[in-house]
Amino acid sequence: MYNFEFVQPGSVADAASAMAGEDAQALGGGQTLLPTMKQRLASPATLVSLTGIADMKGVSAADGVLTIGGATTHATVASEAAGSFPGLAGLASHIGDPAVRNRGTIGGSLANNDPAACYPAAALGTGATIVTNTREIAADDYFQGMFSTALDEGEIITSVRLPIPQASNYQKFVQPASRFALVGVFVAKYADGVRVAVTGASEEGVHRWTAAEEALSANFSASAIEGLSVAADGMINDLHGTGAYRAHLVGVMTKRAVAAAS
């Protein structure tokens, strides 16, 4: 790790001004950033910790929307969303291990947009709104490929608004070593249709499976997607699974998510 300055602002405005400094980097729970810094693969001049900002923490449900502060930990989401949005709470409760869940934040996960992370599937699968210090971004516009998002330099995710579905579920088939998603599928059923978002599988990062959405919108049952398949082209091909295997798992995990949706 190289030397760096550390600031912990108490407000979003103070955080935004700190982020204007040269080589400033926002710090959520640090579950990706700190190991990267320890490896000397990242060298921010200033770390701007967001976890001291009270306005960016907490979970609240109103008018069919769950709003989660950007600095809210996975553990908090797992416990506080359990009643209102069990599909999301279930996802949060299986990210990493207890230590990760007590440090990692939803804002950090979405800003990093790891292609195998869980939260991007929930955000895209619910058509969430990513709220930043300067604007609101629809999930469909936010995710722009592996580790790439619509966030501008210095922009901070202050909260995430997720429409609460009638039924939802997230199924994660874990990569055996990291236990990140080898393939993860988030399925959410709304009055006006079904959304299906896939993480872990594609070289393009999190994405929607529109064919499955159409089939499930017509008939929300696992059998509705029998016969549908995903192309292996563009799927990640590595030590832990071929593209064909990942493409196959997308179908399996989608069916299981539909069957388990509540």
Binding site: M1, Q39, R40, F173, P176, A177, S178, F180, L182, L239, H240, G241, T242, Y245, H248, L249, V252
Partner: protein, 787 residues
């Protein structure tokens, strides 16, 4: 009723109090006043020519004490290899130079190119970034068969090829073996890979070199399984320091699994640099460094053939193995695929003719050496897989086929140079069958199938040679060391004992189990005995702990020393009670005279030895301290039968271990709880190999599994609740405790059980799969089912 102390008691591990409360003294806990830190700049390419290394900018960086390169080690010896294998043609193996810091070429990712010693680690690391390397990439040699093909790039220019040796065993039997195959009623052939592993002890390696100028003494604190071996290898062969000027200390060590047997460049560097800088020098491996600098394990590619007659008797066995040595020969690397592998090829069976061919190959990868089981898992895996395949091809019960071919009469001379002293393979198989409800398997399979899953049962046997080993035998086999063990038993004036042992505990619990033996022999409380190990300054020259040898060899040395103590105390007791020495009995911590009510306590006799006012000074010396060196007459041969039941999710290919049972014959057992813990750990590593672990390189020699993000370690929820049993006991016939050793059994016996079960499950689902390589990852299983 279970005993509550002495041999056979499950005494709780006294060392756990300090380990579990953060009071351990590990090498990283050792800090010497004024110490500097070293950061090793390691090669990020697998093969290249070093044109130049410019360290001038680095040397001028803040806090830098000195920057070292290969040039600083030109007058220093290389890292030695402790075993010389002779090939099929009677020629010695090819043995390349193994520099402490790369000289002229780099040969694997992770090889040390330069070392920066600085006041702080951070400063050393900063300075390392200022070193300018000019290295020309060379093609990397990764695949073993390609490495020995005509025209392959050579890892070592001064060797004739990448073939370290081509070993035949027993070469004289080759013709007879080939003839038996020609006459066989059935031949089963199997090609398989024994996957490359990284040991991953919880504590990474650490070395602290210290030097005192006034007496020219060097001290190395290191994470080692055998400090005396390191002192000899490093002092005599690398740095030229005589033993009386070199102390090696291996304090608490957090797991070794073989990877901490070997002498590593970092140890020699820290010792050398401490003297060169006149300042202690410390290195603590990061986990990333561990992946690319700890010796790896396994990595064999084998073809095995089994010949059977018309009655399904095994008539001959023939194998051809390519064994990866990596870029350099690690300390015991050449012995692993040969003497620890070929000699085990008979297994539990009376196969009369066996021929083993092993080609050891240099590649641009991290050196490969012993890892828990070392050679024996590779042998067992091949044998127990081919026997299972044969049973399937012949349509016979795999257990019945094994039983039919079991060795049943002991001692048994195998056709591969070793003689089993004792064993009862039917007994362990009987025990196993009583544990696994084989009759109920069909119903369990039906229940799994009703749930959309496939279920398989795999059974296998194993034998291992441990308690390594008779010095005269291993000397004939190429060892450049003896393999005895030592112990000094010191009795204090009031009767407490200290045992200074050459064995080394890095998780095995010697501080608890060794006192149980002494307590049993004298009839005193275990708490009166303390174990000292791990420091060349206060233990006799010993060979350390590996090959399940601690209790069998180290424990035997301790018994021999204690017997000398008891003989002497009986003389003293006889004198004190004015009785004949022949009439003295020692029981429950007191000496008595047979047929009388005379008695004197253990402590009073010990006191008399140190306060010899009334003492037979004309016959014996005062004091009570004895040393013994024990060199065993033979290996010991633990054996057992294992069974694994798996369920496979055909939609995802995921394999779940539903149950695992192990019936072992370890001979006599000192502490059943510790033995069961050893079996649990071995099973976790064996199941880990079968299910999860694999070290992978790409075609350029880049390590693909350089962290836990890609190297899959077994976790608690990957493993079942084991059923373990060691009630079958055929005591070893040639050591005083009748013990055999238990450290490696689990890792040796379990991989074939898992794979046999997976193949059984896949075949039950109608898949024409007769073999699947480890690890059986979901992706690999799914691909096998859908190819």
């Amino acid at each position: 009723m279970p005993k509550d102390s002495g041999i056979g008691a499950s005494t709780k591990r006294r060392e756990d109090i300090r380990f579990l409360t953060g009071q351990g003294n590990y090498t990283d806990d050792i800090n010497i006043a004024g110490q500097a830190h070293v950061y090793f700049l390691r090669s990020d390419i697998a093969h290249g020519t070093i044109n130049s290394i410019d360290t001038s900018a680095a040397a001028a960086m803040p806090g830098v004490v000195r920057v070292f390169t290969g040039a600083d080690f030109e007058g220093v010896g290389g890292i030695p290899c402790g075993w010389q294998v002779t090939d099929r043609h009677g020629e010695p193996m090819q043995e390349p130079a193994h520099p402490v810091i790369a000289q002229g070429k780099v040969r694997h990712v992770g090889e040390i190119v330069a070392a920066v010693v600085a006041d702080s680690l951070s400063q050393a690391r900063d300075a390392a970034e200022a070193i300018v390397l000019d290295i020309t990439d060379l093609p990397a040699v990764v695949d073993m068969k390609a490495a020995v093909a005509e025209g392959a790039t050579k890892v070592h220019d001064d060797l004739t090829s990448n073939l370290c040796y081509d070993w035949g065993f027993v070469e004289e039997n080759k013709g007879a073996v080939d003839e038996a195959f020609a006459n066989a009623a059935h031949v089963t052939t199997l090609e398989l890979v024994n996957n490359r592993l990284v040991a991953n002890p919880m504590e990474p390696r650490v070395a602290v070199g210290d030097y005192t100028r006034h007496n020219d003494e060097s001290t190395l604190y290191t994470t080692s399984q055998n400090p005396h071996v390191i002192r000899l290898l490093m002092g005599a062969f690398v740095l030229g320091i005589p033993e009386h000027k070199l102390r090696v200390v291996a304090p608490d060590v957090g797991g070794g699994f073989g990877a901490k047997i070997f002498h590593y460049a970092e140890e020699a560097f820290c010792t050398f640099a401490a003297k060169a800088c006149n300042r202690a020098v410390k290195w603590t491996s990061s986990r990333s460094e561990a992946f690319m600098s700890d010796a790896h394990g396994r990595d064999h590619v084998s073809k095995i053939e089994l010949a059977l007659d018309a009655e399904n008797n095994f008539t001959a066995l023939r194998t051809e193995t390519y064994a990866n040595m990596g870029a350099y020969l690690s300390t015991f690397a050449p012995s692993v695929p040969t003497w620890l592998h070929g000699t085990l090829m008979a297994g539990n069976y009376k196969t009369p003719l066996i021929y083993v061919n092993v080609k050891a190959v240099f590649t641009n990868t991290v050196p490969v050496d012993a890892y828990r089981g070392a050679g024996r898992p590779e042998a067992t895996y091949q044998l127990e897989r081919v026997v299972d395949k044969a049973a399937r091809e012949l349509g016979v019960d795999p257990v019945a086929l094994r039983r039919q071919n079991f060795v049943t009469e002991f001692p048994y001379e195998t056709p591969v140079a070793v003689a089993y002293d004792t064993g009862d393979y039917h007994a362990t198989m009987d025990q196993l069958e009583s544990m696994i409800d084989r009759e109920g398997f069909a119903a369990r399979r039906a229940a799994s199938e009703a749930n959309g899953k496939l279920r398989g049962l795999g059974v296998n046997c194993y034998i291992e040679a441990c308690g390594i080993a008779p010095s005269n035998l291993v000397g004939q086999l190429g060892a450049r060391a003896g393999l005895y063990e030592s112990a000094t038993v010191r009795v204090n004036a009031t009767g407490g004992l200290v045992v200074m042992t050459g064995s080394h505990s890095h998780g095995q619990g010697h501080e608890t189990s060794f006192p149980q033996v002494i307590a049993e022999m004298i009839g005193i409380d275990e708490s009166m005995v303390e174990i000292v190990h791990g420091d060349t300054a206060n233990t006799p020259m010993g060979m350390g702990t590996y090959g399940s040898r601690s209790i069998a060899v180290g424990g035997s040395a301790m018994v021999r020393a204690a017997e000398k103590i008891i003989a002497k105390t009986k003389k003293i007791a006889a004198h004190l009670m004015e009785a004949s020495e022949a009439d003295i009995e020692l029981k429950d911590g007191a000496f008595s005279v047979a047929g009388t009510d005379k008695s004197v306590a253990w402590g009073d006799v010990c006191l008399a030895a140190y306060v010899p006012h009334n003492y037979p000074l004309e016959d014996i010396e005062p004091g009570l301290e004895e040393t013994a060196f024990y060199d065993p007459a033979n290996f010991t041969y633990p054996s057992g039968a294992y069974a694994c039941e798996v369920e496979i999710d055909p939609e995802t290919g995921k394999v779940t271990i539903e149950s695992f049972a192990a019936a072992d014959d370890f001979g006599n057992v000192i502490n059943p709880m510790i033995v069961e813990g050893q079996v649990h750990g071995g099973l976790a590593q064996g199941i880990g190999q079968a299910l999860l672990e694999a070290c992978a390189y790409d075609e350029n020699g880049q390590l693909l599994t350089g962290s836990y993000m890609d190297y899959a370690m077994p976790r608690a929820d990957d493993l079942p609740n084991y059923q373990v049993d060691h009630s079958c006991v055929t005591p070893c016939t040639h050591n005083p405790l009748g013990v055999k050793g238990c450290g490696e059994a689990g890792a040796i016996g379990s991989p074939p059980a898992v794979i046999n079960a997976v193949v059984d499950a896949l075949q039950s689902g109608g898949h024409a799969v007769d073999h699947i390589d480890m690890p059986v990852s979901p992706s690999r299983v799914w691909s096998a089912m859908n190819s």
